[in-house]
């Protein structure tokens, strides 16, 4: 589970940085992006995930690229409370979603969490919008 390893590494790094009296945000971001690239660059799809984040179920899994997913051919599908969130992978391995389209994050799980933050409890609509 590279995802867990990475998370543990990040948590540890953040803790050490805090202990050193520095801000945590910049080092965490600096670590996260290369880690994501390393874990996900060689083929394919990142690991699946399934968790409750801020009271909402977020899930991610490799997809076959069929169905509604053809908009981006991403090969990975993310869901918030069972509704698919349109996500896209950038050439450098970072990810965005339709509710956070201009701010890349390291992993599809981070994109799902960013979407939950952005939604502030609102229901996601199935895409394509309307």
């Amino acid at each position: 589970m590279p995802e867990l390893t990475r998370r543990r590494a990040l948590t540890t790094a953040a803790g050490l940085t805090t202990a050193a009296g520095l801000t945590t945000a910049a080092p965490a971001a600096a670590l996260a992006a290369p880690a994501a690239r390393a874990a996900e660059h060689h083929h394919g799809a990142p690991e699946p995930f399934d968790e409750v984040y801020k009271g909402r179920r977020i899930q991610g899994r490799p997809s076959d690229g069929g169905g509604a997913h053809h908009e981006h051919g991403g090969g990975y599908a993310v869901f918030v409370d069972g509704v698919e969130l349109h996500v896209m992978r950038n050439a450098d391995g970072t990810w965005i979603s339709v509710v956070s389209h201009y701010a890349p994050v390291p992993t599809p799980r981070a994109a799902a969490r960013a979407a939950v933050d952005e939604l502030r409890g609102a229901t996601l609509l199935p895409f394509p919008a309307n």
Binding site: G74, A91, V98, Y102, A103, L124, L125, A129
Partner: protein
């Protein structure tokens, strides 16, 4: 000839006419078609596949034509209206007159991001968010929350100094002026402004916020300034590039206009000044 002015220099009457024309397009349904078109391209433009509106060389001519369509629609309501631009490297705080109640209204309230003043506040009943990705039907903003600082003048100049228009692989990983202006690499200009505004501006349905047009009118002006600074450089690629719009290929969704037709903005409009 249409003259695009800095939003900070608009008269009260010019602001009133711009807002009035935008609200008229909203009422008759034409506005939401622009939002729908933009979101369609946002979702389908990919780094490894066909890409036209974003993350590709045609980001700039595509948005130039998209803004021209919108400006012509505004002028069909009120021929005196031109698109203003927002120089976010100068008017970089929430106190800018751009965000006053007589123009675009301010930031959203803390609880739910809802914009509560100005002509586009949900309470007016004039600005329902219809083309959307979630259940919320009110305009939202969180100015300066997603990222603290708008780009500086020095950062803008550093991007304008780049000599190549674009570079292989012609996507979000590219070096060159286009991708640095778009923001996927480097100091991040255009993308960062979307994030700074927040709310719908951070999403694929970003034209739901009228500031979208003022933001892109300034990005478009920066392209014109880059051209003036680099008269010997030009749009690339020139031909034969899979998934990418070459200089003389037509662009979707219009299918009758090429980047080559859009390089010279003076065929369509001028700016109040190109000196800054």
């Amino acid at each position: 000839m249409t003259v695009r002015k800095n939003q900070a220099d608009l008269t009260a009457d010019e602001k009133r006419r711009f807002v009035g024309a935008v609200l008229a397009l909203k009422r008759d349904g034409r506005y939401d078609e622009f939002v729908r078109t933009h979101n369609g391209f946002i979702m389908s433009d990919t780094d490894t596949g066909e890409r036209t509106g974003h993350r590709s060389p045609s980001f700039l001519p595509w948005h130039r034509r998209f803004l021209l369509d919108f400006e012509r629609a505004l002028q069909s309501v009120d021929p005196s209206v031109a698109l203003p631009y927002w120089d976010w490297s100068t008017d970089r705080t929430v106190r800018a007159s751009l965000w006053a109640p007589d123009f675009l209204g301010g930031t959203g309230r803390a609880s739910d991001g809802r914009v509560t003043d100005g002509p586009f506040a949900a309470a007016t009943g004039d600005w329902p968010i219809s083309v959307r990705v979630d259940g919320r039907t009110f305009l939202r903003r969180s100015l300066g929350a997603g990222v603290r600082e708008l780009p500086t003048r020095a950062e803008v100049e550093s991007v304008l100094s780049m000599t190549a228009y674009d570079a292989m692989p012609y996507n979000s990983a590219s070096d060159g002026f286009r991708n640095h202006l778009e923001g996927w690499r480097g100091v991040n200009l255009h993308n960062r402004v979307h994030v700074w505004v927040g709310g719908q501006m951070g999403t694929g349905v970003s034209p739901n916020d009228p500031v979208f047009w003022l933001h892109h009118a300034y990005v478009d002006k920066l392209w014109a300034r880059w051209q003036r600074g680099h008269p010997d450089a030009g749009y690339v690629p020139a031909g034969g590039t899979p998934d990418v719009v070459d200089l003389n290929e037509t662009m979707k969704p219009w299918n009758d206009v090429r980047p080559a037709d859009l390089l010279d903005h003076t065929r369509f409009y001028t700016f109040d000044t190109l000196d800054r």
